[in-house]
């Protein structure tokens, strides 16, 4: 079993040269976004930190979600993930950089998190949670989350690269063996990350489904992003001949599954809390049903669930890469609205308002993140050329 097999595929898949141009554009966007964000920081630091948190969580969801999908791919041994494995790996390898980008959130902790403010000492309920919700523990946990995720991201990436070089048939199994506990640990850590970063914005509120809901959203964010990258690559050599309708069909199905999963979690949480109508729980939904937030809630129902769900039912649409790309773009935008909807009503208990800093930080962080992602993507063959399933993956209808 351990005998090394020679490269089974004579085709090679070097990254297209266009990626350099795209990366430059991403850096330019990053520069503009950061400049605007810095200006915003001088004008309104509180708003800056709040917008920054939402943008950071949004981009982190994409990167961390890619790690989860990568592990799911290794676990299921499916041919579906081979064509996008390098995209997933590249996105997952950005996680340590996202850890560095977390620093501004720590600096502005009092601006965003009620429990970090001095007046929290007067709140009995927050005092009860102070063992868990305090600055040191919060930062420590975030370092652990991102550290463990990065460990898995780089571990799997390294083995995948070695598979390219040596064609060692045992690596396939090793990546699977790592991914099994990896995915479990990932889900557990992400749950607590969701509690820390988002749920604790309203430190009185709790819901045991919250972590799972956040996980479902990450799956959508990652898949939507991957579909867009796959669409971009499929329009250029060398991947133009490699991707076919069957691949996009599979990604579309997976995206549909995650849309349904996310909706299932959202409805379950709403129904249970609405039905029990407990004062400590229902307030969270009341905030999201008043002061204009109702419209964001409706937006999510219509465009995070209903429209993508109906569109993704069609197999013609899933097999059409461009049409699927449009749905993916819509869902990616909705992911931002969902994170915004989870976070922002807890900052200001009042009216819905968008701030230009929401956009500036999103573009600034997004530019940095995309540039880092493209930098990672450029370093390797776009397809793991020595994987035992490659022939099957390329033939996938």
């Amino acid at each position: 079993m351990s005998e090394p097999t020679a490269s089974t595929h004579e085709r090679s898949f070097p990254p297209p040269a266009d990626l350099d141009g795209l990366q430059s554009k991403a850096w330019i966007a990053a520069g503009i976004g950061i400049a605007a964000s810095l200006a915003g920081w001088f004008l309104d630091p509180t708003q800056f930190y709040r917008s920054y948190l939402v943008s950071w969580i949004f981009w982190l969801s994409v990167a961390a979600g890619c790690l989860a999908i990568l592990m799911l791919h290794h676990l299921s041994r499916g041919a579906w993930g081979l064509m996008i494995r390098r995209v997933l790996e590249a996105a997952a390898r950005t996680l340590p950089f996202l850890a560095i980008l977390f620093i501004p959130i720590v600096l502005g902790l009092e601006e965003t998190y009620v429990w970090a403010r001095p007046e929290a000492a007067a709140d009995e309920l927050i005092q009860h949670k102070a063992v868990y919700l305090n600055r040191t523990a919060f930062v420590f946990r975030t370092v652990v989350y991102l550290g463990v995720w990065s460990f898995f991201a780089y571990g799997l990436s390294r083995l995948s690269l070695r598979q390219d070089r040596t064609g060692d048939a045992t690596l396939f199994r090793r990546m699977q063996v790592i991914s099994a506990p990896g995915l479990g640990i990932y889900c557990l850590l992400t749950t607590f990350a969701a509690v820390d970063w988002l749920m604790s914005l309203d430190p009185h509120w709790y819901s045991s489904l919250f972590g799972v809901y956040f996980l479902g959203g990450q799956g959508i964010a990652a898949l939507a992003f991957v579909i867009l990258v796959a669409l971009y690559l499929a329009q250029r050599e060398p991947m133009a001949g490699a991707f076919n309708a069957g691949h996009f069909h599979d990604y579309g199905k997976l995206l549909l599954a995650f849309v349904m999963l996310w909706t299932y979690f959202a409805i379950s949480q709403l129904l249970i809390i609405w039905s029990a109508d407990l004062p400590e729980e229902i307030t969270w939904y009341l905030e999201r049903a008043h002061g204009g937030w109702k419209w964001v809630s409706i937006l999510l129902v219509l465009f995070h669930f209903l429209l993508p769900f109906l569109l993704l039912l069609s197999s013609d649409l899933k097999r059409n890469a461009k049409a699927l790309g449009k749905v993916a773009l819509l869902l990616l935008a909705m992911r931002w609205f969902d994170v915004f909807w989870l976070a922002a009503p807890s900052f200001e208990h009042g009216h819905l308002s968008f701030h230009w800093l929401d956009l500036a930080t999103l573009v600034g962080l997004g530019g940095i993140w995309l540039a880092l992602f493209l930098g990672q993507l450029k370093t390797r063959s776009l397809v793991p050329v020595n994987d035992p399933y490659l022939v099957e993956a390329l033939d996938n209808e």
Binding site: R77, L125, K129, L188, Y206, S208, F210, L271, I273, E280
Partner: protein, 455 residues
């Protein structure tokens, strides 16, 4: 596609003819002596069930251990336990079919039968729990002179719809899948009565291209219909608890955690049945180690989700800062029912961790032992949820204790007897493995054989 080093899904050396012979001969020849003994024993339990039910109808639910505050006892525990077990069949048949997992083929038939019998056992409990089962039709909305309607906002009513839909679709799915095999049995049967019965049930199947075309369409449609039901039934069951305000019941994690628990329990029961059956009827060529390994993996994955549910429940009880939530968890850990809670952790969290080891997954006896732990553990889980949450709620003055009486136990054990008796009859009269689906995968698996065994 078989990965390098994986055992095949059909043992080498089979032809479509040998598959048909071996599976249909189980039904068409005399049953071995052990079958009579086992069927007799389960039938005796059914008699006990009937006796206990008669007693119950005559005397009322007072013969049970129910009291105030514990108004939900064995009946609900058993209902949830059975309905959970009834989830694996449809998951294997519908979802694995849509995911194009060919290994499902040899286990889907009896897993579906198991689902039907488990749902039948489950359905029994709410009916007798209402106390006056002859009025159980009041659960259904129908125009009546009393002008009384069920409370549509109550998940208990949704349950009626969810479970009856599930039972109907599962039955149809199972029966449609049986039709081609019933025709095979019709053609092979020697006795006149068998020929007529199988001929009647096979609805004139002649195996023409049109028949097959219609069959495939119907089967896929039913699979699509059945898939959401796998999730919806146990979600509604979890709502029975979660929409209330009782700590220990009211938790938003309940829907996904219940669904995972149901699949966990269902696969445990499939393994519990598959391991002895493949030995007793010499079906090791069809229900191979590969099947057992895969089922072991599904059990491990769903078991981890269930364990996740336990962790989050405990964490949130503390994090909520809610006095009653915290007390509920402490009462589980330290209260009078702590032994049940520890046993539950042993069965549902610790025992399944053995499945990480490949040797355990590929040794039928060990897998059987783990599955038995899970069967017990999932019953205990429902006991802990139902009883420990109810027996000490908000007011210490209304606390109480609960224990099942012998009638509770008689009905529970009797329902296991009913399940087994139905299963033995199924094995006797219908092919427990889908003959024609096995025939379709034989050429593929056999063609690949030389690559796999080559040194």
């Amino acid at each position: 596609m078989t990965a390098p080093g994986k055992p095949p899904i059909v043992a080498p050396g089979h032809t479509p003819g040998s598959v048909t012979d071996q599976i249909s001969s189980i039904v068409l020849t005399r049953m071995p002596r052990w079958w009579w003994a086992a069927f007799g024993a389960s039938f005796a339990l059914v008699m006990m069930l009937l006796y206990a039910l008669t007693k119950l109808v005559f005397e009322g639910t007072g013969i049970w251990g129910l009291n105030i505050p514990v108004g939900w006892g064995f009946a609900i525990i058993n209902f949830v336990w059975w309905i959970g077990i009834g989830h694996a069949g449809t998951l294997i048949s519908a979802i694995l079919l849509l995911l194009r997992q060919e290994w499902r083929t040899s286990i889907n038939r009896f897993a579906e039968a198991m689902t039907l019998f488990a749902v039948a056992c489950a359905g029994l409990f709410p009916l007798i729990h209402v106390g006056r089962p002859w009025l159980a039709y009041w659960l259904l909305p129908y125009p009546n002179t009393m002008d009384i309607w069920p409370q549509f906002r109550s998940p208990l009513v949704w349950d009626v719809f969810a479970v009856t839909t599930y039972a109907t679709v599962s039955l149809l799915f199972w029966y449609v899948g049986l039709v081609p095999d019933l025709a095979t049995l019709r053609d092979r049967a020697r006795q006149r009565l068998a020929k007529i019965t199988y001929g009647f049930l096979s609805m004139g199947w002649r195996g023409s291209a049109t028949h097959w075309h219609n069959y495939e369409t119907a089967y896929l449609l039913l699979a699509g219909l059945a898939t959401p039901l796998v999730v919806s039934v146990h979600t509604v069951v979890s709502f029975d608890f979660a929409v209330g305000q009782l700590p220990g019941w009211h938790a938003t994690i309940f829907p996904p955690y219940f669904v995972a628990g149901a699949i966990f329990a269902g696969f445990a029961m499939v393994i519990t049945l598959a391991v002895p059956l493949r030995t007793l009827f010499d079906l090791k060529d069809f229900i191979t180690i590969r099947h057992l390994q895969n089922m072991g993996k599904v059990m491990l994955a769903t078991g981890l989700i269930v364990a996740y549910g336990y962790v989050i429940e405990i964490f949130m009880a503390w994090y909520s800062g809610n006095w009653f939530e915290e007390f509920m968890i402490l009462n589980r850990i330290q209260g009078p029912y702590r032994m049940q809670w520890y046993a539950l952790l042993l069965c549902n969290v610790l025992a399944p961790q053995l499945l990480w080891i490949k040797r355990v997954r590929s040794t039928p006896a060990l897998l059987f032992v783990v599955a038995m732990f899970v069967n017990v553990g999932m019953w205990l889980e429902r006991f802990v949820i139902v009883v420990t949450s109810l027996h000490r709620d908000f007011l210490p003055s209304s606390w109480g204790m609960y224990a099942g009486t012998r009638w509770d136990w008689a009905i529970f054990v009797g329902s296991i007897g009913l399940f087994l008796a139905l299963l033995f009859l199924f094995i006797r009269f219908l092919p427990m493995i889908s003959i024609f689906e096995m025939r379709t995968i034989v050429p593929k698996t056999q063609a690949r054989e030389p690559d796999e065994v080559s040194p």
